[in-house]
């Protein structure tokens, strides 16, 4: 209780500090339609103040400004970057969650439901059993010498573990591997990608990483020398891109996805943005495409993808294809096609287009976020550029081996005839069909709300509804010195315990308001979530309706 009161006091101080900066911050993340978002040269904005409940005597006071490391003397790029997915609203939610433990009656809800982050296993989704069997056997290899093991593990998981261990020198899963990842596992992944796309993959083009995020960081670090280097990013985007661009001192060149056409991408808009950026002296280096989209969930039509590939080739842009949601497609009229396949189908080879494709083990139906596994396939670069990518990978030595193994399993799951195949398919399809149902249910519920429109989630794990906030609500938000969508989200949290992320964290057309909500709470909880959301929204509109 005392800690809570201390936090309240600290929160108050923080809020006072924050008030100076919130308005400026939400304006800055909204790129204007006419200009790219450069790194500002003025003093950096104070970032969201996430307050830690530290009562330690070890923590220094801020006023000791003679110290070498203070808020005024640290890297301004750190201060500038933002990441809303685990930002302010999540911090508030965590404080509420703590307080719920001792103050159940103070709240109109029993629990906090985190719909802010694509973290399926934290909301009850189970891992794929076969995958975990293999990982356990690789972690504790002496199990393979015990006869009892055959009673506890499936036959094919034992076989696969042997196969994988034979690809690891000395069967040492605790050793640093090759900096691109274990060769045999890259072979497996390459084969999986070939089977998916019908085009050859060179295992030497694959870099296994601790999740897709570090791979994306690596590429952006390579491409960005200064604010004169720009990266085209979709708006709305997953804020890893804006944050990483800020940390690397580059410029984000926005291109707007069109909400009215299911978050479609217009090549003419891309062209316009590139030309404007160039006219301001920015060298546009790459185009980021997230497919299926995050937060927007659209699956690109193949024709659109061809246009994008052609555009990159014409404009000399590296295509950065974030394809981490490739296994999350919920509609029968759309299909995932990798950009690699599209490019090769157009006849573009190694010498024609620079393409980096990212995949992760965190999403799909496997949802193995905490394992930190992923990879990028790097094609169409000269060898001197490739050497630099490799060099960057070596400084961190290698990615975690367990995650590497899991990436290979994801790209080569059980096949028909394998012992585990039937149960694997049942688990996989169970998860995916449930996700599709939840996506539909939540989409319909959101569309039923007054002033809310929500595009369908064709893929990924999110819904990104638009709310037509009444003028009164916008004014109330201004008074509270909060962005209108954040104001709505905080009210939602306090009324229902549901945590979503304000659209301003992803970028949106100025004057429009959204929030991102995951489709991940367990299916049994969805009706209750719908009810509470509906009730809250109605009373919110009753309060603020014009």
């Amino acid at each position: 209780m005392r800690r809570f009161l201390i936090n309240q006091g600290k929160s108050l101080l923080d809020n006072t500090r924050r008030q100076h900066h919130t308005t400026r911050r939400f304006l800055s993340i909204l790129p204007s339609t006419s200009a790219p978002v450069p790194v500002p040269s003025r003093a950096p904005l104070v970032s969201l103040s996430r307050f830690l409940s530290s009562t330690s005597k070890m923590a220094a006071s801020d006023s000791a400004s003679s110290l070498p490391v203070t808020i005024d003397s640290i890297n301004p790029k750190v201060l500038k970057c933002e990441y809303a997915v685990r930002g302010e609203i999540v911090n508030i939610a965590q404080k509420l969650q703590d307080d719920l433990k001792s103050n159940k009656d103070a709240y109109p809800f029993d629990e906090i439901i985190y719909c802010n982050i694509g973290n399926p296993q934290s909301l009850g989704q189970l891992p794929i059993k076969f995958f975990r069997e293999v990982l356990a056997l690789c972690d504790h290899t002496s199990l393979l010498d015990e006869s009892e093991t055959h009673g506890l593990f499936s036959t094919d998981s034992i076989d696969r573990a042997w196969k994988i261990l034979d690809q690891i020198p000395g069967r040492a899963t605790g050793a640093y591997s090759h900096s691109q990842g274990i060769k045999g596992l890259r072979d497996t992944i390459a084969a999986g990608m070939e089977a998916r796309d019908g085009f050859p993959v060179d295992p030497n083009d694959i870099f296994l990483t601790d999740g897709a995020s570090p791979a994306i960081h690596m590429m952006l670090q390579l491409l960005l020398s200064s604010e004169k280097d720009g990266i085209l990013c979709p708006i709305p985007q997953y804020p890893l891109y804006s944050a990483s661009i800020a940390l690397n001192g580059g410029s984000l060149v926005p291109y707007y996805l069109d909400e009215a056409t299911g978050w479609g991408l217009e090549i003419s808009d891309l062209k316009k943005q590139v030309e404007e950026a160039r006219s301001k002296g920015i060298a546009v280096r790459a185009l980021v495409v997230i497919n299926p989209g995050n937060p927007t969930g659209q699956v690109l039509a193949e024709e659109n993808q061809r246009d994008i590939v052609n555009f990159c080739k014409q404009e000399g842009l590296v295509l950065l294809a974030d394809e981490v949601y490739q296994e999350n497609v919920y509609v029968s009229d759309k299909k995932f096609h990798s950009f690699k396949k599209v490019a090769r189908s157009l006849g573009y080879g190694e010498k024609d287009i620079s393409l980096v494709s990212f995949q992760s083990i965190s999403k799909g139906y496997y949802g193995e976020c905490g394992k930190r596994g992923g990879y990028m396939e790097v094609t169409g670069f000269t060898s001197d550029v490739r050497e630099q990518i490799y060099k960057l990978a070596t400084v961190n030595l290698c990615s975690n081996i367990s995650g590497q193994i899991l990436a290979s399993l994801v790209m080569s799951p059980p096949k028909p005839g394998d012992d585990s195949y039937d149960s694997y398919i049942a688990e996989r399809d169970g998860i995916l069909t449930s996700m599709a149902r939840r996506a539909k249910t939540l989409e319909e519920a959101l569309n039923n709300l007054e002033g809310v429109t929500c595009n369908r989630a064709e893929g990924a794990m999110y819904l990104f509804p638009r709310i037509d906030l009444p003028q009164k609500a916008i004014e109330a938000a201004e008074t509270a010195n909060t962005a209108p969508d954040a104001f709505y989200c905080k009210r939602l949290l306090n009324a229902t315990g549901i945590v979503v992320v304000p659209g301003s964290g992803f970028g949106q057309v100025p004057g429009t308001w959204h929030f991102r909500c995951t489709i991940l709470p367990q299916e049994e909880k969805i009706p209750d979530i719908v009810n509470r959301l509906t009730e809250f929204h109605k009373s919110f509109m009753d309060e603020f309706r014009n």
């Binding site: 830690l52 000791a64 203070t70 040492a172 995020s213 976020c369 930190r372 070596t394 400084v395 975690n400």
Partner: protein, 478 residues
Amino acid sequence: MALSYDSLNENVKKCQYAVRGELYLRASELQKEGKKIIFTNVGNPHALGQKPLTFPRQVVALCQAPFLLDDPNVGMLFPADAIARAKHYLSLTSGGLGAYSDSRGLPGVRKEVAEFIERRDGYPSDPELIFLTDGASKGVMQILNCVIRGDGDGILVPVPQYPLYSATISLLGGSLVPYYLDESENWGLDVDNLRQSVAQARSQGITVKAMVIINPGNPTGQCLSEANLREILKFCYNEKLVLLGDEVYQQNIYQDERPFISSKKVLMDMGSPFSKEVQLVSFHTVSKGYWGECGQRGGYFEMTNIPPRVVEEIYKVASIALSPNVSAQIFMGLMVSPPKPGDISYDQFARESKGILESLRRRARIMTDGFNSCKNVVCNFTEGAMYSFPQIRLPPGAIQAAKQAGKVPDVFYCLKLLEATGISTVPGSGFGQKEGVFHLRTTILPAEEEMPEIMDSFKKFNDEFMTQYDNNFGYSRM
């Protein structure tokens, strides 16, 4: 082609990381051609035959496959304390190994780390100031990224150093301010050298912001004395530097005169004003010690006297990477709270750990003596860590030959060593050394049974090389 080499980030092009550089690439090529290579280029114990400790692997395997815990026969394959510990760590997660944890790491594990630090040092430690990371390297990068604003900011780094520091400073566009360790004083640190380095940097307009110490040292292996640490901390206090204490080898101590003592403990022992004002970040890992779990990528850093708002910013940047991998967090928890006397698994755990440490101690001696028996080779004793860093006194003829081959002299030597013996080392130039003085770094990790043969192989190559290029002198310590 969309991307030309010229347009790449200059900082990326400038950065070097010799540990997996030219020698390693050549060794890998030769290995593909069928040559037997002994990789001693990186501190990677399991790759050279060291077995993982049994208990942590049992616990993590159970965490990977929690359905095993429901099986009535699980007790036939796993001891009861491993089962209990797996349940304990799973209860600390919110969804097992597959869910992102708190971006700073699981609170329950951070609490265990804090308790370990308290037991080790005798002073309280706050879990809120401990962040788990995907290896200590990631933690070092995060902290340097916070400290370095541009090339006007300098970081004091020991020479020789582990090139993570030079590579990261390069990548971040900062300035490396070297301070030389004294080979003739067992790689000791002289505060006067420090003062000189700082003064020189400042005269060039550089703001020196931080000082790195690696204790025990890498590649040099020296263990800092308490007096030395006090001097360093006083120096940081006077010069307003944040001390970055890389203590990843704290379990690897091979002499008894200077046991490991943490920078934090010395700082707290010094009392006010030092203990309240000197800023310190300490790093640790599961990759070294007697655990050697490099492939897990597990580490942490603890912050002392860092302002809350800066801690928040570091937290914010950590959140962009979402979370460190959960398996490694559990390894960290197990490392800081291993089996205790009385636990079912204690005897085996103690036996395995002791076996590894005692063997490392023996190998440190074997290698040092082996090098010192070679012509023109002088080697300080490996007091700690995992490496030997012999000085190779290359005759002028060899240096000439290297020049002609277009190679740095120690690279030339190491390549020849590799081709002749299959021993893959890292040239001293990768770590930094005094002008005109050459070294190589090797690890003490090859299996004990293989050591004599490896040292013989090295001696044969070296003495022939020296004879080939020697003019009129030979020098050997033994």
